[in-house]
Symmetry: C2
Subunit: 656 residues, 2 copies
């Protein structure tokens, strides 16, 4: 089959289920994988702060540095709080898991909804920012940024459907190249700013004299808060490591915690460096040239370092987007397994990846890119909100967990849903750290909601509860299904009886109806061919043709319904309903429908859709069984055989 | 059922099939009905000529009058030619019928395709022109013309789905009001132009001195031809009467022919009057103000007569569009009956109208209105082409018919497919008229194709052969179907045997599969429950649950297929194919599929679509019967009963 061959060419040979394996990460490669997301925020976080401050006039941009310091402090708190999570959830403690384990269903669903929106935005924002890194370097490409961004999403989707393994080596190069490049740029920039090492000193351009507008104190504070909120995007991705503890080499928790600290230090060093220089070199945000690009150009001219930074900015952003492709399908599959998302989200495709999650993510991210015209600065108000909420819930869960630990005596241990905890001596200060972390992120979350509400945060504030409602509805539905199918206490004798009657709706006597008649007679002794008669000629013709096949029609009742309208299904269904309800109540009634099958979908519309509509209407009845007799028009005998190159399966007959 | 109630509120009570009746038309009302289309062309035909001439400079507009005279001559020829058609096809002789009767299938399909495109354009052009009549009077509405035009199409569609009878009275008012108004305007205009009856003389504004550009003779002739071609839209609708001969009172042919003459005289009187005045009053086409509107304003100021003309222009154009709604579904149903269009085009809806044709027409016409932004002048290059082709074919058919007549001796008669002809003495001059008519319209058709090709005629030149190809493909398909279903020479013993085997694909043992098992055991003694095993736990669980229901599972083979990939349908289908092909070759094999049915379509996507895909794939096999066992999730017992207020039907059991 060519479709199948094409599929295998594009996505590769199918993997066996038993082929699955997990690569364990050392700290260097673990850092590269988990750091791409938080470190890549440096491409836009500083700029996000400045874009808000610019409203106050360009001289207000000087406050960027102070705000960056506040954010770095926040990161410090969050990291120390998360270390506790990592240490207590060696199998991976995402916010969903921690909240489910300690806070109950609703908080866990809230956390999950927050994270899912966050993962989607990780893709949209990172891809858009990555394209901006390139269009900053080559402004003539600015007009193509949406197409580029969508292409990047397409490529990421393809790679993930093929199943990229989280191969540390691939990730290591761009991550370290980016960190190295930006670090070098910051150091050179600092040296040139202070005139050290004999480098040519940079004299900052004076800002055009745009005095800070005279604002009320309240408005002033409001803007500062907004700028702070905007900068909080620097925190996105910091929690990813807590999901992936299980991927580290032993001792998992310890290695993960150490990696997290290094990662945070690295990310903040870059963030503070960029923010310091952007402030002191008096850079001004521009629509077509990112702050990072301006900075690199100012510090190093348009030389190699500039293109190095721009290129690896794009690369690390693409990698950051890729983390969304790892996290979203995984969390979706967890939710689906717990019955909160469609169960097919747990199905793995030919390459052992969660196709459903990958495609859903790609679709939503692409829509967001199109809506925002690939402008990541405009998307940022939607971002960070979900992260802060999940931080808050996750840390609150840890507070509860510490409470449980506090009740344990030395040597005792407690199994929770997702982990096992033992007695610990320092539980009280750890609980304090978590409580403080939870509180601080809650405050930041509220600030984010308040300050960015009108800019777009409302969409997320709406989406999260909506998602929770959706999760709950889906769960309710699956519970109904389970209830319907339950076999516990099922008395086998209570199963529906099968009525000895088969109804065959018929418009004319032809080869198709004759085949259906034969089938019907084979399975029942009470066969009724039912025909809705709309004209005398039709009836005459029908009876004449009926009598031509005495062998097949023998013993079959021919029921004719005279009808003076054209919607022939109504009387037909009424008849079937009558047989089902009055003649054979509470028994399964069978209806045989001959179905024309044509070679192409196009020719299918040439046929009266009567059979399809009849089938759809009969589906509404609980105890009507529809039997489709295929009548192939011009069909080849059998479809071409799919000569899939798999091992022959083994068939075993368990009982006879 | 509320949907049903709503439907009846909007479209009215269903009609009985036996309720159909046909109103016979006298000449006055017949004229009103058939004249709306050709007479309404006066709203744009003159303007279409001028729009082309304007290219030569506004002084070239003076040629409009001469071109109009040439077109009037063409109308004369066509009318006299068509009178023969009317006299020889008293049941109605549309181009499709005449061509089928005399020229064969392909010419008749060409004529049908030409007419169908023409009918669609009648709707698009007339509705757009009608809206222009209104936006000329109220220029502030210009921006809404597309919405207005689409609304008009919607209303027309609704009215026709409800089933407007071709009630002469409704048509008479706007038609005669339009004719009267325009005639009055032309007469007043002429009187004022010549300064008769003491009316204030109109002094034509001098054209701005745009000298005719110096063109080569060829280019000059080319433009004149194009202007002539553009004016030919005045001929559209003239043939409609030949379709509807049967609707006239007796003697049908005579009444229809007389009506046609009066109609042509009326239409041409208006056309020539408008063209004369537009030329001599030096009017210049404008995008927002139609020529007819300019003329009415110049002649009568912006008084009552002006609004009268504009309003009834719109009304008659809507009526003209309505003729498309009469003709398109009728011709489609003819084609469908002959197997050239989908057979459901012959189905009549609750109100005894051809719903399929009406909706198809509305859809295509709406798309054209949107593409052309309701600018009828831009659509005109597509128009008239189809009419001319159908004229040519119809008249060519008449030439052949006259040839047949020529061979008849006095007293002899000949039955053709659609009519009966007798000996006629004057056949030779009638044949000459038809031949001349056919030739002239053929030349005009070629001129139209040549001159308007790039402006849009290419679309029609492409659409017509494409439609013919489509008609033929559909016909071919229906022939295949007939071949497949043919019962002639059918030996009853050659019908496929039914294999005594039922396969039940199964993922787990639950209430649904148990019900399916019970059904399967009822219809066969050889039931096989087939399960694709992807993990050891699944198998263990399955067997354990299987053994819990010994009464139901007794005598059933449980077939387990171990499989290390995730596309479980592949091995399942391979197994079914094996049973079907190897164990029971050339017999009908039954597959029972339990199907979850949820209350809403939305919850349906929550379920693995596995059952649907399995069903779709099994459809490809000629001899596999699929049996759907409904498993309702949370379903109410039965759908609400549709308490349709129809007479109870009568049921008769013919044979037992």
């Amino acid at each position: 089959m060519t479709v199948d061959k094409l599929k295998r060419l594009v996505f590769g040979e199918p993997f066996r289920t038993s082929q699955e394996h997990h690569e364990r990460l050392d700290k260097v490669r673990g850092l590269a994988i988990f750091a791409s997301d938080p470190i890549s925020s440096n491409a836009y976080a500083t700029e996000a702060i400045m874009a808000v401050l610019l409203v106050l006039g360009s001289s207000a941009l000087g406050m960027t540095w102070a705000i960056a310091l506040a954010i770095a402090l926040l990161v410090l708190i969050v990291v120390f709080s998360y270390i506790q999570t990592i240490l207590h959830y060696p199998d991976g403690g995402g916010a969903y898991t921690v909240a489910k384990d300690n806070l109950g269903t609703t908080p866990s669903l809230l956390a999950a909804a927050a994270l899912l929106t966050d993962y989607v935005l990780t893709v949209s924002v990172s891809v858009s920012a990555g394209m901006r890194a390139i269009t900053s370097a080559f402004p003539e490409l600015h007009g193509f940024r949406i197409v580029f961004a969508l292409t990047a999403i397409l490529i990421l989707t393809w790679m993930n459907l093929r199943g990229v393994r989280e191969s540390g080596t691939v990730f290591a190069l761009p991550t370290y190249a980016f960190v190295g490049g930006v670090l070098l740029m910051v150091l050179v920039g600092l040296a040139r700013y202070y005139g050290l090492f004999g480098l040519e000193r940079i004299v900052p351009e004076a800002h055009p004299l745009a005095a800070a507008s005279s604002l009320t104190t309240f408005a002033y504070i409001w803007l500062i808060l907004r700028a702070f909120a905007a900068g909080c995007t620097a925190l996105t991705g910091i929690e990813a490591i807590s999901n992936g503890v299980g991927a580290f080499k032993k001792p998992e928790s310890r290695n993960a915690a150490q990696t997290m600290v290094v990662m945070a230090v690295m990310a903040m060093a870059l963030f503070l460096g960029i923010s310091f220089l952007a402030t002191h070199l008096n850079l001004v945000p521009s629509h077509t040239d990112s702050i990072l690009s301006q900075l690199a150009r100012t510090v190093s001219g348009s030389g190699l370092l500039y293109y190095w930074v721009q290129f690896f900015t794009m690369m690390i952003l693409i990698l950051a987007a890729n983390t969304g492709y790892q996290d979203f399908p995984r969390l979706s599959s967890f939710l689906a397994k717990d019955g909160f998302m469609p169960r097919w989200m747990t199905n793995r495709g030919d390459r052992l990846v969660f196709n459903g999650g990958i495609l859903t993510l790609a679709l939503v991210a692409a829509v967001i890119v199109i809506i925002f015209r690939a402008d990541e600065i405009a998307m940022l108000p939607l971002y960070a909100l979900g992260v802060m909420l999940s931080f808050t819930l996750s840390q609150a869960g840890m507070v509860r967990l510490m409470g449980k630990i506090s009740k344990l005596k030395p040597g005792e241990s407690l199994k929770t849903l997702a982990t096992t905890v033992h007695h610990e001596s320092g539980w009280w200060w750890k609980q304090l750290v978590n409580a403080f972390g939870s509180l601080v992120t809650l405050v930041v979350f509220l600030v984010l909601v308040a300050t960015k509400f009108l800019e777009g945060a409302w969409a997320i504030a709406l989406a999260i509860p909506l998602l929770v409602w959706l999760f709950r509805s889906i769960h309710k539905h699956y519970e109904d299904v389970a209830e319907t199918l339950r076999t516990r206490h099922l008395d086998e004798s209570n199963l529906l009886e099968v009525a000895d009657v088969v109804i065959l709706p018929m418009g004319d006597v032809h080869r198709g109806t004759l085949r259906a008649l034969r089938y019907a007679k084979r399975i029942s002794s009470n066969v009724r061919a039912v025909c809705v008669i709309t004209s005398a000629e039709q009836k005459e013709r029908l009876v004449r043709r009926w009598n031509r096949f005495p062998k097949t029609t023998e013993g079959v009742s021919l029921v004719c319904i005279d009808y003076d309208y054209r919607d022939v299904l109504d009387p037909l269904i009424e008849y079937i309903e009558h047989v089902n309800k009055v003649e054979f109540p509470s028994e399964l009634t069978s209806v045989v429908i001959p179905e024309f099958i044509t070679e192409s979908v196009l020719t299918q519309i040439l046929h009266n859709q009567t059979a399809n509509i009849l089938r759809a209407r009969l589906r509404q009845y609980k105890d009507i069984v529809v039997i489709d007799i295929p009548i192939h028009i011009n069909g080849s005998d059998h479809p071409p055989h799919d000569s899939r190159d798999k091992d022959p399966y083994t068939t075993e007959i368990i009982s006879e």
